[in-house]
Amino acid sequence: MGNPLLAYWHRMFDGRRHDRPSDAPPRTPVPSVTQASTTIFLVLRRMRIPLIVLIVIFAVSVFGLTLIPGRDENGQPFRMEFFDAFYFMSSTATTIGFGEIPNKFTDAQRLWVTATIYLTVIGWAYAIGSLLALLQDRGFREAIALQRFIRRVARLREPFLLVAGYGQTGELLGRSLDALGRRFVVIDRTDTRIDSLELEAYHADVPGLVGDARNPALLGVAGLANRRCEGVLALTDDDETNLAVAMAASLLRPELLVITRTVSPAIAERMHAFGAPTVVNPFDRFGDYLCLAVRAPASYQLMSWLTGVTRAELPPRPQPPPPGRWVVCGYGRFGRAITAHLRDEGMEVTVIEPSAVAAGDAEVVAGDGFEPGVMARADVAHAVGFVAGTDSDTTNLSLTAAARRANPGLFVTARQNEPSSAPLFQAMSVDSVLVPTELVAREALARLADPLLWQFLQVVPAMGDAWAAQIIDRLTSHCGHRAPVFWQVRLDADEAPTLMRWLAAGDARLGEVLRSPEDRERRLDAVPLMVLRGDETVLAPEEDFQLSVDDELLLAGRPAARRAFETTLSVDAAGEYVTTGRYAPSSWVWRRIARDTKVTVGR
């Protein structure tokens, strides 16, 4: 179950609070499956023969009973009426059996009844058996599941995301979305993944459907046809499927946010041809991050902290190697991306690749990294960094070990393909580990979080290392070492009614409002990260920053600080106290009195 209050809120104020015209129907009619409504028809159609058999058996039995002469208690001839016969057959056929009525039967009647007892039992057994067989039928069960899914999606009263592909990435993302209170719907090809939705202890109800996400009709029932759908995430491990989902989403609902995953630059190109999806290529992004970690360790630390899971610990700052030569092992898609990024950064790169296909553009050493001699030929001893980037975890681990043996001071980066290998990579104390599924989940989450936070993250790398270190210091001094929660506020009459007078008076300093509504001497544990005024952005504004009406604020802080700040924004008395220090009475009567006598208490 979702939060009923939230659901109510969205139902009442849906259109007003969101800039997106969420109430507008989709531009193009979205296909939908008619398969679901066939369920009942299927049952009826297959039940035809059993039901007719049952009716015929009943009819014949009842009619026969009215034909056979009986005798009443005086020995007079007596014919059963349809009413008696029907009553008797009903009680007999359903195995209730009230005895022979209205009179004791004659032998002729008993003969007939004996036959009909067996007949009706067969009829019932056949009908009930057919019904049970139908309920066990795979197609029927799928149809039932689909119909149930459609109902559950239709019942969602809050904006939700459509997640296609519930693998490791989907699961990681699902947990974080659930923690953030976002709703989502899942489609996956395998039923074990959908079953695992039930085992996952989500707060909200997550509808899941087994099906091929390439089918636009399934996407339609899963949310594309629903006006509350606010985004589509294509996270399957198949690039073609992701492309198909991105295509369907941007053709049918161009206004939706689309996030797709791919490891192929060519597919990414094709995805960009449709609308403006956010394409996450984990290899490419990891290349970016690796370069950032080498160039600006603090920026990297800040980025990975803020995009991490909710309330994550501050990750350690990487100790980057000095500029120098890097050795990349494995020249597949990952190796190529990393090599390109490192070269862009101005590093010299040596590639080790068993099948020397990559020859030509790089200094390539042919051979397996862990073969004797290969490490020496690549001159690992004089390199500064090493990348183990094959698609096998055992290979990557042995490469790491071999490289460490050749050069203990090496900065080692490894690609971890399976989540189960995580403890091994940890034990190797690899300097930087790429877990593609995790990276995609984090990138997608950052994109789905507040739009202002996304904007903030975009500019972090450009601001330089010293600035990032300063932001980290500021965040840790106010909010501790757990990642803060983020929220954004627009200072207008809707979201900050209590501050309007204060803002209009001019000279409204940011530091003055970040005060506890209980004691204004105490500063709130919140850090303003960004102020957006029109098109102008101010990053990490200082305490004396002058606010004005319609500014948008991005704040980071402890959850308690967020609650306190929201109290200040919405409760008149709190807003008054924080901005002026006056205790404004909160009840209507006292306010009327206070208006006349100007009662001021405290400072």
Partner: protein, 128 residues
């Protein structure tokens, strides 16, 4: 020739004819209305209804609706007859018989609609 269509048409028509057979005659005269015929009409109508199950077309839906109406009317007639002849102290009076027959008359109307639908469906069918 489709055997399913033959059986379908047979039962739809038989339901209507049996119904008509029971209905015809002076409304209040029990002599003119055979209870066996009412029984047969109920049974055949039920079978016709089941035969109409599971048809997804529009005309199939209307078919099913008319059959359900006929069932309702005929079963009401059967109950009215059972009540009059077994429960009521006055027995099967002319008044009671009239209500049984008029109920079956309503069913007859539904059955006629069913037959009309059958004819329309047949006439509008073209093999391409």
């Amino acid at each position: 020739m489709n055997l399913e269509k033959v059986i379908f048409g047979f039962f739809v028509l038989l339901a209507a004819t049996l119904n008509f057979g029971f209905f015809i005659g002076d409304l209040a005269d029990p002599e003119l209305h055979n209870v066996n015929e009412l029984y047969a009409a109920v049974v055949v109508n039920l079978i016709a209804t089941v035969l109409k199950f599971g048809d997804r077309t529009q005309i199939g839906a209307v078919h099913l609706a008319t059959s359900l109406v006929a069932d309702l009317q005929l079963i009401s007639a059967a109950i009215a007859w059972a009540y009059a002849s077994h429960v009521s102290s006055e027995g099967l009076t002319g008044e009671a018989m009239a209500s049984v027959v008029s109920l079956s008359g309503g069913a007859l109307f539904a059955n006629v609609v069913s037959v009309v639908l059958l004819v329309v469906e047949t006439v509008s069918f073209r093999r391409r």
